[in-house]
Amino acid sequence: MTIRQILDSLDYGPSPESSEAVQAWLDSHREGFGQFIDGRFTPHEAEGAIPVENPATHAALPSVSAGTAADVEAAVAAARAALPAWQRQTPQTRARYLYALARAVQKRERFLSVLETIDNGKPIRESRDIDIPLVARHFHYHAGMAANIEALFPGHEPVGVCAQVIPWNFPLLMLSWKVAPALAAGNTVVLKPAEQTPLTALAFAEICTEVGLPPGVLNIVTGAGETGAALVAHEGVDKVAFTGSTEVGRAIRRATAGQGKSLTLELGGKSPFVVFADADLEAAVEGVVDGIWFNGGQVCCAGSRLFVQEGIAERFQERLKERLATLRVGDPLDKSTDIGAIVSAEQHSRIADLLATGAAEGAVLHSAPGDLPGTGHFHAPGFVTGAHSASTLQTVEIFGPVATLTTFRTPAEAAELANNTAYGLAASVWSQNLDVAMDLAAKVRAGVVWINGTNMFDAAAPFGGMKESGFGREGGAAGMRAYLRESGAEAPPEPQARVDFAPAPVAEAARAGNSEPALDRTLKLYVGGRQVRADGGGSYALRGSGGVFGAAALGNRKDIRNAVEAAVKAQGWSAQAGHNRSQVVWFMAENMARRRETFAHALTLTGSAEAAALAEADAAIDRLTQLAGLADKLAGAVQSTRARHVTLAMNEPRGVVGLVCPEAQPLLGMVTLIGALIAMGNRVVAVPSPDQAWLAGDFAQLCDSSDVPGGVVNLISGDPAELAPVLALHDEVDALWHQGASALTRRLEEASAGNLKPVRRHGVADWAALPPARLLRLAEEAQQVKTIWVPYGA
């Protein structure tokens, strides 16, 4: 084409990024990669080797070895062996390593960007301007965390050996999200990159060698799903962090159940992208470009469900179509490419299949015009209309460059539609009205909310999901905590009492240690602020040293169902100001002080000495005052991300929390746990320690007399082994705190895989000796972080 001709067309022309250096590196590894274990690469294992391709050209890249059980064993052993020396390093020394990694990445930005693009298919514009700079940012930020860890996280220690499994959509970025905080906290790591995109991780292994990271601190094992499964299930692993699909997340939850591992899961999403009529429409259109059309839509937090207010929907659609026409799909290495290749043939056909299903259901696809390249896994970006809330395309994560577009009428409807999903990862809200935007940001159940923006990331901004998008956060202090544990944690004592759940023997109950017949005392269940009989109508005897002293209702799964329903309805509690909740909990403390002897008496019924019982009651009163005081003090903090962006790491209640109460120190334990949960805005369905159910009756009366709204605290006595799994399986229970028998842990963790609720077992053996800092952490754990990004400018 001559310049004369170009003057007519004024096309952009080709603008390929040079891949020479990367090609030379790939050529030098032509024979394939081995595993990076203990600071060295093992020889490439040709048998079962996993081919790697450039998804834009189908060109073969060096293959990687399929990690075997022996490889995993060796890698975990290397990480374990490296742990003591790594933990002995001073924080400043660890900080220097992380800083060296950050600088090494910066110095190789071009190389790593090109390699990422060749391996993954994403446009060079993205790898160069987004992925790799964020990788450097992540190591840099965590170098600072490492340097200041003692001041920032007193009373904490590293978890140990971390197994990390990362996905193919942001290969090196996800590595940095996992590795940087893990190393900063003083852990060692075995990381498995995705088999589709292992190359930048392996290049990073070389960088680790170059900066002199001690052998074994970071080990990289390549392989497919089986390798990952072997890694996360390995007994020598203390912590598992996974980013990937919800299905694999569930499998990991089940596989690690009962192993005592710390677990964080960052899973799928179907994130709402809500455009109000008063939004800057053009800004929102570009938001879609940066949202679902970013990285080919292969983004867990992509705004894949567009909800547009009715009045502007037509215009918005028109503009989206016009915008589609100017997107450039093609060679990812070309600097003028907007949309590159889908990562693999498998993913490409998954997208195509889902769209075919959608079409069969009546959805209409609006795709970018123009031809796609003849070779490579390219998919035209677009959006679909006519896919309503019940349709496949609105419910299933497509993980491709196609969003659904539907409308809404009011802010309330927008919130309802936004939350009408099993996922809860992210949300984008577009409105020039701060009231409207913040209102939806507060109502949407998602870990990250962007106001007038989308897909903004920063190492200081916690990222992670709610609901079936997983649990745990990456980035910020919340992200660091996932790689730390409290020092001094102890195994909770095991329940000792053998409780007979058979119907109460009347004769003994009626006697109850009195000379004349006492009034029958059968404890009921406490549901929705009312004392109710058990669904099954049964009760069981409560026994003390003097024999049977009463009876408690025997709750069953339907009682749990009813209690959860009541707790769900009590959502107003979670929306209240901390000050209001604080007053209620203060009132509880006040009323408990008035009934100090009553509570102490309940403790003596099961064998506590009177002095000890009074001491426990006093401690419980003090505990309530402490927690009441925290109710309005842990709302979160502004994070330092980018200039002119207020990034709020806002703490929110988890929602409905199931609680299996401890047996030892039954009053203080129950009061601490319920107090922490409700002070921070949760609603609780608690299963009291069965032999101590009598206390629950007193506690229910305390709630009643202290203005605790109905449904905020629900108490279901009965057999924890029967009741707790119902809570663990319940999709409307958002978290489960399990302080009962450890024998139950595995079952509960397995059962929790359904809606991926976090199951937490606090390492507290003596509730009276709980240091104030740990009580504070307990209250913090009753919350989860919602990160709200608010860019601003006049």
């Binding site: 310049i3 003057l7 952009y12 022309g13 514009r125 923006g453 400018g793």
Partner: protein, 316 residues
């Protein structure tokens, strides 16, 4: 040349509901360069095109007839002939789009450009502040047209925009349009003095409704000149106006655009937001004085592989 924008009655509902989000506009503007790259022969062609879109400008207090004549010579032959030949464009007539001067220099420019077909543009209406009585400003337009200016770059009364007196702004621009007669009207919004992007959008829309042929960012005399976010908002206003009225309006950024690299980014922005046709000189102009020198040096580098010295190109 497209049919001229006839304007229309003032319709505030076309802009009053539009609020521009500053951060989002800056994000998009910031992506223009990184998302589009023009290299090698394409880059050379784009730079030649940038010259074709240029209002080669001198607006200095020490302008003289001779200085203006020298500028006009440069407008006729903006690229050194040997470089033009090396680009394979020896037979092309490549000139700047116009020469832009003060009203008293129009006659000199018209004389210097005689036979070239290059129009003379004149600033008017009390440029750059525009705070002269309206009859004087209108008289100044008529004077410049009378002197032979075919394009008039007027400035708006910022006060009208800042106070939201849209009908006052509309009346003023409409009167100026009328004073222009056959000459084309370029309306300078002085965006650096309008405070917010939302005001920029509204002022753009009012100017177009009042019959502006072009909307222009700046006089070059404000502290903030042409910026990509401002341009983005004005281009969107042009697009919205076009979609609703059916009329095309041109765009002219001015002030602060000095490098070849910036010029390609600006052209990319036009292409992305309004499409290929909007890149033609009848719809897009650079208001520039020093940009040409940088483009010439880049073009020389393109054909020779050597980095060039300013002194090797005829001064404008």
């Amino acid at each position: 040349m497209n049919d001229r924008n006839p304007g229309m009655a003032l319709a505030p509902d076309w802009f009053e509901a539009v609020a521009v989000n500053r951060s989002a506009a800056e994000r998009r503007a910031g992506q223009i360069g990184p998302r589009r790259s023009v290299k090698k022969d394409h880059q050379a062609a784009w730079l030649v095109h940038a010259i074709r879109c240029m209002d080669l400008t001198t607006l200095a207090g020490d302008d003289t007839a001779e200085r203006v004549a020298r500028l006009c010579g440069k407008a006729r032959q903006p690229i050194r002939p040997d470089i033009q030949a090396a680009l394979g464009l020896a037979d092309e007539r490549i000139t700047t789009a116009a020469v832009c001067v003060y009203p008293t220099m129009v006659a000199s420019a018209v004389a210097a450009l005689e036979g070239s077909g290059i129009p003379v543009a004149s600033v008017a209406t009390g440029f750059p502040a525009g705070l002269m009585p309206l009859p004087l400003r209108l008289a100044e337009i008529r004077y410049a047209v009378d002197q032979g200016a075919e394009e008039i770059d007027i400035v708006i009364t910022r006060e009208h925009a800042l106070r939201g007196h849209w009908s006052a702004l509309y009346d003023e621009v409409a009167a100026m349009r009328e004073a222009c007669g056959a000459a084309h009207l370029k309306t300078i919004l002085a965006t650096g003095e309008l405070g917010t992007l939302t005001t920029v959008y509204a002022a753009s829309m009012v100017a177009m409704q009042a019959g502006a042929d072009f909307i222009k960012t700046s006089t070059g005399k404000e502290t903030e000149n042409a910026t990509l976010p401002v341009a983005l908002v004005m281009l969107r206003a042009i697009r919205d106006y076009g979609a609703r009225s059916g009329h095309t309006v041109g765009f002219k950024p001015a002030g602060g655009i000095r490098t070849a690299k910036e010029a390609t980014a600006w052209l990319s922005l036009i292409r992305e937001e309004l499409g290929r046709e909007a890149m033609e000189p009848d719809r897009f102009r650079f208001g520039a004085s020093s940009l040409l020198a940088d483009i010439e040096r880049q073009l020389q580098h393109h054909v020779t592989g050597r980095y060039s010295a300013r002194s090797h190109h005829p001064v404008a």
